[in-house]
């Protein structure tokens, strides 16, 4: 049987500079008038390879996750497979009808009612009108918006809009489903529903391609994963293996002090840059090891490049498989900083008790200015190992929980 998708030596190149290829007709005419015989070659521009010489094949019925850092080429790959953009070279063969879901609610228009938007979005996503007629009730019920179906969606909450958008997508008829980071939005319940539906689509024998930063979701849903690194295939194999080797690259060293200055994969304005992370004990001395239930101080060193008024800081802890285990922020704790002048500094994050199960965790950091604009954002910039401690019992027979509870048991039985 021939594969559902085959990608042969595909590359995609973008020209940098000059507003990504657009220009003004006026300039072209003026240049031609000024120097009519001079040929302008495009070679002077800087070239960015979003994908480089990528080859793989996906069989019918496979559910494949694509993982990789920001800018690794995941979205470009999905766009090529969805026919939104053409590769610069190479060949893509896709057999079957593709439904691509690169956002929730593609084509929604604020002024139209829920019902009208179901028709519009369904049609844009490739659903014939007759099928929308048949499925309308099911879509509306799935999205749970019966009461508001004839209300313009500009009055919808963002949750309702998401549910309606995903409901349309879930009722698409297709052989191949291409999904990009849809699960990154919405509340927990919505995400659960998405995951359940994706699982059902898988069971129906469809070929699914799935990009997500939620590595736990990729591991749960996918049998196979592709890891892209700088537009090239780094690893291709069973999802669990690929994800583990991908996570392992977030940090290799297990130092108590980690230098962050040379991490290239960061976002934000750069008004502030994190420079170093230290893991300290409650007495502010370096820790030998971090154990479940420990008190801990995480000291974040930074360098302020432009004075920030009312900045905020936040940190996320992810498990090794990408589940968000904990989230802390100065905003949430009601801690305000009036001004950070230019220059170096640090902020201490004290944690009373770290009730996390032994294992490897990664730390993500965020600093924003008073308006919430990212000054510096580092995803999975460092990782550390939490070791077992006696505080939570014998630690036997645990099947990878995230949390540990201080628990006591008491039985009452008839005499």
């Amino acid at each position: 049987m021939s594969p559902a998708i085959s990608v042969e030596a595909v590359s995609k190149r973008f020209m940098l500079g000059h507003a990504q290829g657009t220009t003004m007709l006026r300039e072209v005419v003026m240049n031609a008038l000024r120097a009519p015989f001079k040929r302008r070659s495009p070679g002077e521009r800087e070239v960015l390879w979003a994908l480089r010489d990528l080859s793989f094949a996906i069989n019918v019925g496979e559910v494949v996750g694509i993982v990789g850092r920001n800018g690794a080429g995941k979205s470009t790959l999905l766009k090529i497979l969805s026919r939104i953009t053409r590769p610069s070279s190479g060949l893509v063969r896709v057999r079957g009808r593709v439904a691509s879901l690169l956002e929730v609610g593609t084509g929604f228009h604020e002024e139209l009612t829920g019902r009208e938007n179901v028709y519009l979005s369904g049609c844009i996503l490739g659903m014939p009108k007759r099928r929308i007629d048949d499925q309308l009730d099911a879509i509306v019920a799935y999205a749970d918006v019966e009461r508001f179906i004839d209300t313009p969606i500009k009055h919808y909450s963002s949750g309702m809009r998401l549910r309606l958008g995903f409901a349309v997508a879930a009722h698409l008829e297709s052989d191949i489903l291409v999904v990009d980071e849809v699960l990154a939005v919405g509340d927990g319940e919505f995400q659960q529903k998405c995951l359940r539906t994706m699982g059902e689509l898988h069971n129906s024998g469809r070929t699914v391609l799935f990009v997500s930063h939620n590595l736990a979701a990729v591991e749960n849903l996918c049998t196979r994963a592709l890891w892209l690194e700088q537009g090239q295939l780094q690893e291709d194999g069973p999802a669990t293996h690929v994800i583990q080797s991908y996570m392992a690259t977030f940090t290799s060293s297990d130092e108590r002090v980690r230098d962050l200055r040379d991490i290239p994969d960061r976002q934000g304005t750069g008004d502030l840059r994190f420079t170093k992370v230290e893991f300290l004990g409650p007495d502010r001395t370096p820790l030998a090891a971090i154990r479940s239930g420990d008190s801990l101080v995480i000291r974040l060193h930074f360098e302020v490049h432009r004075p920030l008024t009312h900045p905020t800081f936040a940190a996320d802890l992810h498990t090794f498989l990408g589940t968000l285990a904990a989230q802390v922020s100065t905003q949430n704790d009601g801690y305000t900083i009036s001004l950070l002048p230019s220059g170096p500094g640090y902020i201490d994050l004290a944690i009373e008790c770290l009730p996390l199960a032994p294992g490897r965790y990664s730390l993500s950091l965020l600093a924003t200015d008073h308006g919430g604009t990212w000054a510096d954002h580092l995803q999975h910039c460092t990782s550390f190992e939490i070791l077992p401690s006696a505080r939570y019992g014998l630690m036997r027979g645990l099947r990878n929980p995230v949390l540990l509870l201080e628990s006591q048991w008491e039985v009452t039985a008839p005499d």
């Binding site: 007709l25 939104i84 057999r95 691509s100 002024e111 099911a138 749970d144």
Partner: protein
């Protein structure tokens, strides 16, 4: 949310009675293939047109009023200015009918061209997120402008009854309208693709349309154009369309088949060239839109 009200879709891939579709990414579709594909997406074409019409008439109370007001007021101004003050000949047609029947196709063109030109950029958020034949955007936009045109036709028919010049000849408007749509679509598709690459194209459009008005027999009949320029003015496809449109309102007038033939020829050639450029440009729309 109770489980019972949210039935999950269960469609098995094997049950889908469709042939396997195959696409190879490096293909640039041929001329006929791209028209055939547009046809297979005709539902989308109509939904996009329906969206624009709905939004337009829902947002403004004056939506329909505007479609009536624009041609009627322009017609009154032309009638007074050119019929009474300057006294431009109208080939024996009552001046209001002469101007109105020329204005309707002209206003269609003058509204459709700027709208088509910005149709790709205006729907950039769709182009970046989903595949569909990009031609559906300028084609759909050219359809939307037909609504105002149709409203104008109703007014024109009322005027013809009033002046007692009604005849079956106005059935000829149907093929003429299709011709007009095709020409506007061909030019609009080209300009929309050009506007993605060169962002200042849309600034040139009002000037283009304004100049075009004077080169087209809207405010004057083509009969006043000196003989040696007649071939030149016939090369403008709107000449044949608008003149024939006007002559369909007069029982006795004979059609200028030469002008109409040239117009059809130019339209077909333009359609080929325009779609050739569009198919070439289509490849980079989503990268730079």
């Amino acid at each position: 949310m109770p489980e019972s009200v949210s039935p999950s879709p269960t469609v098995t891939a094997a049950a889908l009675p469709r042939p396997v579709l195959e696409f190879v990414s490096s293909d640039s579709p041929g001329f006929l293939a791209s028209l055939r594909e547009l046809w297979s997406y005709r539902e989308l074409l109509f939904f996009l047109a329906w969206r624009d019409i709905t939004i337009r008439y829902r947002q403004t109370l004056l939506g329909i009023g505007w479609a009536v007001l624009q041609p009627v007021v322009t017609m009154l101004v032309f009638t007074i200015l050119f019929g009474v003050v300057v006294k431009v000949p109208t080939d024996g047609i009552p001046a209001p009918i002469f101007y109105f029947s020329g204005l309707l196709p002209w206003l269609y063109f003058a509204n459709a061209i700027p709208a088509s030109t910005s149709s790709l950029l205006g729907n950039g958020y769709l182009i970046k997120k989903i595949y569909f034949p990009r031609l559906a955007l300028p084609a759909g936009t050219a359809l939307v402008a037909l609504v105002d045109f149709a409203i104008g036709i109703v007014i024109l028919m009322a005027m013809m009854i009033y002046y007692d010049v009604m005849s079956w000849r106005l059935l000829l408007w149907i093929p003429l309208s299709i011709h007009l749509w095709l020409f506007s679509f061909a030019l609009g598709a080209y300009l929309s693709a050009l506007n993605v690459k060169y962002r200042d194209v849309k600034h040139a459009i009002p000037f283009l349309v304004q100049t075009w008005l004077f080169l087209t027999p809207v405010i004057y009949p083509s009969s006043v154009v000196p003989e040696r320029f007649s071939l030149l003015i016939d090369l403008n496809p709107l000449t044949g369309i608008i003149e024939s449109f006007r002559k369909a309102t007069v029982q006795t007038a004979s059609f200028d088949w030469q002008a109409l033939g040239i117009s059809a020829g130019v339209t077909v050639v333009l359609l080929f060239l325009s779609l050739a450029y569009f198919r070439h440009a289509e490849g980079y729309f989503s990268d730079i839109v």
